[in-house]
């Protein structure tokens, strides 16, 4: 097996509310997997546990980076997890609105670069070289994602779909092996969603990524994902290929609230 991520029996509580209960999940290298479920099922909570925003109450998370040692994610800060190679986007867009598009992506390069205060003030040769490489790498990511026309625009002035893509570009700049996309197609029209689908495929191949995405657009999920995990009330109710999930009675019940006729 060549998993890049294994989540084992993850449990998360908010006071008395159990947001996640014994959730297990694996992602294989190079796969696109989807996490679906009704609103409030705990999907974003899972992302937050994975990226260190929340500390899970119980359970283990292991990562197996393609380059690098396997490692258990435990008590790490958000930025340390990003540095290990897990990048994410946010459900409600959280770009740095007052910064330009290029600068947003350049921020993503932060954890792969080292220049400090002395370097900033003296601006020596290595700092200048590093700065130049940040600019060029960031620009090439923008080119790949089709935002190069907007380089010097403020992020907040971008059209909605472009903001969503900029979030992905920014996440890619951190050099991840695993990309977590939280509802990337939310608010997009069918045309944009179709383009997003192609983009995600292309990015996976270009950047050697494994991708886990949360999405409500079933068409996108069915087209993209090799495997689907379904959460409801913090528990896994089904997993399998899109074909399996489509006909799974538990899933239909969770979404529609009625007993599927057998």
């Amino acid at each position: 097996m060549d998993n890049v991520l294994e989540i084992k029996n993850l449990t998360m509580n908010f006071g008395g509310l159990r947001a996640l209960e014994n959730v297990s999940l694996e992602i294989k290298k190079g796969e696109i997997e989807a996490l679906i479920g009704p609103n409030g099922a705990g999907k974003t909570t899972l992302f937050n546990c994975l990226t260190g925003v929340y500390k899970p109450a119980a359970g283990d998370i292991f990562i197996y980076p393609p380059q690098g040692k396997p490692r258990r994610l435990h008590n790490l800060k958000i930025n340390q997890i990003t540095a290990l190679g897990i990048a994410r986007t946010f459900q409600n867009i959280r770009l740095f609105g007052g910064m330009t598009v290029l600068e947003n992506v350049m921020i993503g390069r932060h954890c792969r670069t080292v220049a400090g205060i002395a370097g900033a003030i003296l601006r020596n040769k290595s700092t200048r070289a590093e700065e130049e490489s940040i600019v060029h790498e960031s620009y090439s990511i923008l080119e790949k994602i089709g935002l190069d026309c907007f380089v010097n625009d403020l992020a907040k002035n971008l059209p909605y779909g472009a903001q969503r893509r900029l979030e992905i570009a920014r996440a890619l700049a951190t050099g991840p092996f695993l990309l977590l996309l939280d509802e990337p197609a939310a608010g997009m029209n069918p045309q944009e969603t179709k383009e997003l689908e192609d983009l995600i495929y292309r990015l996976r191949d270009d950047f050697n990524l494994s991708i886990l995405l949360i999405e409500h657009d079933m068409k996108l999920v069915m087209n993209l994902a090799q495997n689907i995990f379904v959460l409801d009330y913090g528990e896994e109710i089904a997993r399998g290929t899109p074909q399996d999930i489509r006909h799974n009675p538990a899933v239909i019940k969770a979404y529609l609230g009625v007993e599927a006729s057998a």
Partner: protein, 404 residues
């Protein structure tokens, strides 16, 4: 079509002001002749004045709200002027020449107040790192200033160390103090951060005021030596000029350092932290380290300014480090435009020099100051010179900005 509405609104505002100012502007008790003097003409002045002002204010706000989009898209006329090479090259040269010959053409008194103004420029530039660049609203900046000043005064008093040895020591101690203050407030943002830093500054001031054995209490420390000049003894006029040039040099150094920090990896991280803390961390930026760097680097300049201040006045006591000073420095940053260096310069010179030259209005100083701040926040919330983002040039393929 809406003019009538506005006139009506202005009318009521005028009425309200007449009512408000009635007791102080109209009624006057002449205590000698035991009569009440009714000054009805003042009522008219207040009425007309507030009516006209509020009407103009409304017109302006309306115009601005109509053009709000274009304002954010295109830089202000002042900004364009500053960016215009034809203008800013000669202007810069003129300013440089003026700065250099200033002490030679103006009196001792003028040089002294200009030196004070330059200390505030330095403080403003330092606080600008915290507030303007990193978005950490610090109301206790004066504490770092005090640390700088007292470390020079005390170390000199006890160990006889000289100005040039203690200048870096003061800055380092202030930076260290910045980190100590920074640690407990890491989780706080905005208003909460402001309150806690304000508390720290008050603690610092109270310690200096009450711990007599350590800081000599309210009576302060006197006879602090002026900076040495290659062992030559300077008279007070010469040393004032020397102080002036020292401060010019330090302001230039501060500008240089801040400009470089701003356009660096760290500067970007500060900016991102200011915009969105969670997203910033998710991009791999260490929040703790980034915030503490901002505190430390901001405090460093306050430390330098503190040492220079102590050396300039040769006497310090806790009364120089009250909350009023913090508020003053913060006003400089806010008025000037957050993150903008030219803005800090203009605002510091205006706030410190204008009261000196407008002694005639000294009774109304605080009123004018308050009114200026309010007017500024209404009409130009981005400050005198708004900060702009650096633009990068790329060889673009002809592309269309489709929404994609």
């Amino acid at each position: 079509m809406k003019i009538a509405d506005e006139l009506k609104k202005s009318f009521f505002i005028a009425l309200w002001f007449i009512l408000l100012t009635f007791p102080i502007m109209v009624i006057r008790v002449n205590t000698i002749e035991q009569v009440v003097v009714w000054r009805w003409e003042n009522l008219l002045y207040v009425g007309i004045g507030s009516f006209v002002l509020s009407f103009l204010c409304q017109l302006f706000l309306k115009k601005r709200s109509q053009s709000i989009q274009t304002i954010s898209a295109t830089p202000s006329p002042l900004r364009r002027l500053l960016d215009e090479p034809k203008f800013n090259r000669p202007a810069l040269i003129l300013i440089a020449i003026f700065t250099l010959i200033f002490p030679l053409i103006f009196s001792h008194y003028q040089v002294n107040i200009m030196t004070t103004a330059l200390i505030y420029v330095m403080l403003g530039l330092g606080l600008n790192i915290e507030v303007g660049l990193a978005g950490l609203l610090d109301l206790g900046y004066v504490a770092f200033y005090a640390v700088g000043a007292y470390s020079y005064a005390l170390l000199n008093y006890h160990f006889g160390l000289g100005f040039w040895t203690l200048l870096p020591v003061g800055a380092i101690l202030a930076a260290f103090f910045g980190i100590i203050v920074g640690f407990p407030v890491l989780r706080l943002r905005g208003d909460y951060l402001a309150i806690v830093t304000l508390g720290f500054a008050e603690i610092t001031r109270l310690i200096l005021e009450n711990w007599n054995a350590f800081s000599f209490g309210p009576s302060g420390i006197s006879n602090i030596p002026r900076p040495g000049f290659f062992g030559i003894n300077l008279n007070s006029e010469q040393s004032a000029i020397y102080m002036y040039y020292l401060l010019v040099a330090f302001c230039l150094l501060a500008i240089f350092v801040i400009l470089r920090l701003k356009n660096s990896r760290i500067g970007r991280a500060w900016n991102a932290l200011r915009e969105d803390e969670l997203a910033c961390q998710a991009m791999g930026i260490d929040k703790t380290k980034t915030k503490l760097t901002a505190f430390a680097l901001g405090a460093t300049w306050a430390g330098f300014a503190g040492v220079l201040f102590a050396a300039k006045t040769t006497f310090i006591n806790p009364a120089s480090f009250t909350f009023m000073e913090s508020a003053m420095i913060l006003s400089i940053v806010v008025l000037g435009g957050m993150g903008s260096i030219v803005g800090v310069f203009i605002a510091a010179l205006a706030i410190i020099l204008l009261p000196e030259y407008l002694r005639v209005f000294s009774d109304y100083r605080m009123i004018l100051f308050g009114a200026a701040l309010i007017a500024m926040m209404i009409f130009r919330p981005q400050g005198i010179v708004a900060d702009i983002r650096k633009k990068y040039e790329f060889h673009k393929n002809n592309c269309s900005k489709s929404t994609g």
